[in-house]
Amino acid sequence: MAINWFKYSSPSTFYGVAGKMVPWFAWSAAILFVAGLYISFFVAPTDVQQSEAYRIMFIHVPASILSMFIYLVMAGYAALGLIFNTRLSSMMASALAPTGALLAFLSLWTGALWGKPMWGAWWVWDARLTSELILLFLYLGFIALHASIDDPRRADRASALLAIIGSVNVPIIYFSVQWWNTLHQGASVKFTGTSMHVAMQQGMYTMMLAVWLYAIAVSLLRVRCIILERECKAQWVSELVEVRR
């Protein structure tokens, strides 16, 4: 079956599709959050070295991984918008930015809470922490640049260029624990096997999936708002049921 993907790159079609998808993602995110929190607090055993404090990992790791991943997705959409001049790609990029910034902030915040009992300090100037902080600044720069240009077309293109330049930072964060001798521990989960207990793994994967679905749901909701704002003069918007009411 051939699907005409370009049909969904039009804001008017995507607005309806996104509206139908949001509840599915939001509800499955909520259910997985509950399941993930249950596993991480009651099923996963206490860690030998880090005792109960390790449990913050269940939100720290998903937030960190997604903050990097969302940046790449955002830069990808921004690049698509820049190259093919598709309006929806640029709207998706600006819809993803606040969620990414929130997750980068959460990752730093939970990291600080974890660092205090483990390292005895809220913050250390280690390569991974610093590069994650730069990631947060890059998100904020993207949002600020987009907000300060009035013409939406120029705003999209200028911030797209910035997002693409900034994506250099993501591999630096990811490999920082291998390249430099840092205090931040290395990866426990690898493709070749893991050093974690099964219940801890299940908890982390459930939470990861939950945060992932949450990010998709919120971004879709936000892109719907952006579409409405930008297309408010279009005919199809004035024919929408929710607008006419």
Partner: protein
């Protein structure tokens, strides 16, 4: 007019920008004085213990250089943008990237080079040893052009925007952190007796990368801002 060669275009734009800068010497001096003041504020703020100052010196000089280079970024394209010269420059048959490279080089000569020359004097205020001063000069010589180049991208993106000055710092400063880390790291390495060449090589690599990519990206950004 005959068709200019690339080198001809480079030297023409550099000469033009230098002449313009020399006609308005106050602008150039303000950046330099800002640099000197920021560096001199640190001993007053943290106290005059010479051991601590010696340890802080490389970082302080580098951060001040970074801030001073932010200050002058707004001038890189704005005057040409306001009087319409930039629009004419985008219409020339030669490559816009080369033209942008020339403007970046001229900007560095006016705002980066004076900082490099001034830095050893400020280093003496912090009682830095002679060997460290030489490394500081080398690191600044490699690093300040990178700051001008990355700054050019930010300046082009924020061309003609309200609140451009603060915005350009927000965009450019995070991207300049590697330069700061390796630049200050080189001076710290010579003070603590470890290998300097690795830091300087990394700075050199960053310079070559920036030289290849930033004029092209700046040209793209200018086209986005001017359309």
């Amino acid at each position: 007019m005959n068709k200019l060669s690339l080198i001809g275009l480079l030297s023409l734009v550099i000469r033009r920008d230098l002449v313009l800068a020399m006609r308005r010497r106050a602008d150039v001096l303000t950046t330099l004085i800002f640099f000197v003041i920021v560096v001199s504020l640190f001993p007053l703020g943290v106290g005059p213990e010479i051991d601590m100052l010696r340890k802080m010196a490389p970082g302080v000089v580098w951060v001040a250089a970074l801030l001073a280079s932010m200050l002058s970024l707004g001038r890189m394209f704005s005057a040409d943008y306001l009087d319409g010269t930039l629009e004419q420059m985008m219409l020339v048959p030669q490559s816009l990237s080369v033209l942008v490279l020339a403007k970046i080089l001229a900007h560095w000569m006016v705002s980066g080079l004076p900082l490099v020359i001034m830095a050893p004097v400020l280093g003496l205020q912090f009682d830095m040893p002679a060997q460290a001063l030489w490394v500081l000069i080398a690191a600044l010589l490699l690093g300040t052009p990178i700051l001008s180049m990355i700054g050019a991208v930010g300046a082009a993106l924020t061309l003609g925007l309200r609140g451009g000055g603060a915005l350009v710092s927000l965009l450019v400063l995070p991207l300049c952190i590697p330069v700061l880390v390796f630049g200050a790291g080189a001076v710290e390495a010579v003070v603590s007796g470890t290998n300097v060449s690795s830091h300087l090589s990394l700075l050199g690599a960053l310079l070559v990368m920036a030289l290849v990519f930033t004029p092209w990206v700046t040209a793209l950004a200018l086209r986005i801002s001017m359309e």
